[in-house]
C-alpha cells in the first residue's frame, strides 16, 4: 500500500447499472420495494421511473473505499452516508473521494457518489485501517 496523504484522491469508481440491476440488487439484498423494480408502481407514486436502491449506492461507496486496501474487506471499519438525490438505472455513477485524515494506520476518507450533477450520496465518511 502506497503512503496516503491528506488530500489524496481515492481511485474513481465509474459504474453504469444496467436496466435490470435493481432486480439483481433486490434479489441479492432482499429489498423488493416495488419503487425499485416496478415501473408502473414507481410512476403511480410520482417517480419518473424505477429508482436505484440507496444501499446499492452505499455498496458502491464501500467498494470504492476498499480499493485503497486492494479490495481487502477487513480494511473498512466504518462508513456513514446520507442518501440524497434519486439514482436511475442506465446512467453512469461516479464515486470519488479524498483522504481527510491519516493517523497511523487509520485513514478517513470523504466520499461522494454522483450521477451527472445529482449527488446520490453526500458527505460519506469512511474510516479504514490499512
Amino acid at each position: 500500500m502506497a503512503d496516503l496523504n491528506v488530500g489524496d484522491a481515492v481511485p474513481e469508481l465509474r459504474v453504469t447499472p444496467d436496466k435490470y440491476l435493481p432486480h439483481r440488487y433486490a434479489g441479492a439484498s432482499g429489498d423488493f420495494n416495488p419503487i425499485h423494480i416496478d415501473e408502473e408502481f414507481a410512476k403511480m407514486v410520482g417517480l419518473p421511473r424505477t429508482i436505484l436502491h440507496g444501499l446499492y449506492g452505499m455498496g458502491l461507496t464501500a467498494k470504492a473505499n476498499a480499493a485503497l486496501a486492494d479490495g481487502d474487506p477487513r480494511a473498512l471499519k466504518r462508513l456513514k452516508v446520507q442518501f440524497r438525490g434519486m439514482g436511475f438505472p442506465e446512467q453512469e455513477i461516479v464515486v470519488s473521494g479524498t483522504v481527510k485524515s491519516v493517523e497511523g494506520d487509520r485513514v478517513a476518507v470523504d466520499t461522494v457518489a454522483k450521477q451527472g450533477d445529482t449527488e446520490l450520496i453526500k458527505n460519506a465518511e469512511a474510516e479504514l485501517e490499512l
Partner: protein, 146 residues
C-alpha cells in the same frame, strides 16, 4: 400532529441469519465486486479467512431481517407511503464468513420531529456464533409530512 415516541428505547426480538457462499456471490456480483476472497473458498482461506468472506456492506443482508419487526411495529407507527431512507452508518468488527450464524438485535434510538419531518433512528447490533461483534448499524428513516 405530535409524533408518537412510545417506541423510543424499545428492543425487538433478535433474528438469526446463516451466511452462505452463494448468497455472498450473489451480493458481490450485483455490486461488481470481483475480489476472489468473496467468490472462491481457496482464495479466501489463503487470505486468512475461515471461508468465503462477505463484502462489508453485506451487513444489510444479515441485519435487515432484524429491522423488519421494528419498522412494522404499530407502536412505531411509521407512514411507509411517505418514508425515505435518509442515512445509514455501519461499524464493522469481525468479518462475516460463509457458515457464520449472525444474530442481530434492533433497538429504537430516537424518534424526533424536525421541519415537519419525522426522523426515526434505529440501531442494529450483529454478533456471530462466537459472540464477536460483526457490525453495528444506525438506520435513519425519514417520514415526510408528520
Amino acid at each position: 400532529m405530535a409524533l408518537k415516541t412510545d417506541a423510543v428505547g424499545k428492543e425487538w426480538p433478535a433474528s438469526t441469519y446463516q451466511v452462505g457462499r452463494e448468497k455472498i456471490r450473489e451480493y458481490a456480483n450485483a455490486l461488481g465486486i470481483d475480489n476472489p476472497v468473496h467468490l472462491d473458498v481457496e482464495a479466501a482461506r489463503a487470505a486468512g479467512f475461515r471461508d468465503v468472506v462477505a463484502p462489508p456492506m453485506f451487513a444489510v443482508v444479515y441485519s435487515s431481517p432484524a429491522m423488519a419487526p421494528a419498522m412494522f411495529d404499530p407502536e412505531v407507527a411509521m407512514n411507509f407511503a411517505a418514508m425515505v431512507h435518509g442515512g445509514q452508518e455501519f461499524e464493522w468488527g469481525e468479518p462475516a464468513c460463509s457458515g457464520d450464524e449472525i444474530t442481530t438485535t434492533a433497538r429504537c434510538l430516537s424518534i424526533e420531529e424536525k421541519d415537519g419531518k419525522g426522523f426515526y433512528v434505529f440501531e442494529t447490533n450483529a454478533v456471530n456464533q462466537d459472540g464477536a461483534q460483526v457490525a453495528r448499524g444506525t438506520w435513519t428513516l425519514i417520514v415526510r409530512g408528520v
